[in-house]
Amino acid sequence: MNLRLELTRFLSLGYVLSSSFMFWMGLSLFTDCHSPIVVVLSGSMEPAFQRGDILFLWNRNEKNNVGDVVVYEVAGKSIPIVHRVLKQHYDRSTGEQLLLTKGDNNNGDDVPLYARGNYYLNKTKDVVGTVKGYIPQLGYVTIWISENKYAKFGLLGLLALSSLISSED
């Protein structure tokens, strides 16, 4: 047990954590979006997006066009939804925009998913970001870790074991 060595290790761990946090927050500021990279969880946009695909979002646009794929969050529901804009009504004087969305793979539009009594989304209030970039399947790891309890413990155990085994190199 070498205290200096342990502290150095702790410092490098802190370095890794803080630099990834800085990267995430920097990306967040750059895109004006609280979660600029998301993983698709459901099949409602198939075949465009499958479960596990990674989407890159951008939220500095003032308005959305019809045909854009947006991620939105409904007040009171914690899970963000990624669907395509079907209708848009933009008011040039106030800058307000109302959107109606629909999943490519769904039969009907999203009105049943919206907050009770709402028939449209508000671009500034509800939309988290517009999908600009795409990488397939890479996010499946996070789905696997969050949904399989053995995977979570296995991964933690592996990390702990490797940190114990890694000798002073």
Partner: protein
Amino acid sequence: MFSLNQRFQHVSSLALSCSFLVIALIAATSWLQLVKDNVFELESQLSHIRSATRFAKQKRYGGSAVNPTEVSKIRFNADFDFSRLFNWNTKQVFAYVTAEYEGDENPHTMNEITIWDKIIPSRDNATFTLSDIDAKYQLWDLESKITERPLTFKLHWNIQPWFGFLINGETTGSKTIELKKPVDKQKGK
């Protein structure tokens, strides 16, 4: 590079950077291919657009018993060839027809509504000659009237890539018409 661990980390981190380089090259060349193929000025034909309009009292359409909303069903002909949108980085093309119009009571609004869409999964099925087809979605506005003002119908496309950026574009053939007043005199009652 002294230990197995160091060698593995060196190779895997460089391989990760290299794979992102390959992805960037794929995205860039496929985009250049689209520019070279001049897809941003694809032609399309929309014709024979006609409508049947009714009054709806449901809240979903923004209507009420006192002030029902006009809801229009559209039929149209379309003729287009999207095979040039397919290259090695195209996963699917989403084709959609929209109606664009300015507000009437509130002239500051710009509105755009999808009336028909289609997922095109491959180059072999990218040529369409549609005649007298029903629009998938009905047309209604925030205001109670949708008829008797110029609506511009246009065919757009959206490329969903395997890697990289989603690309949007519109075709050159657009058609501006006014929908006919509903024959149903329900509103007057």
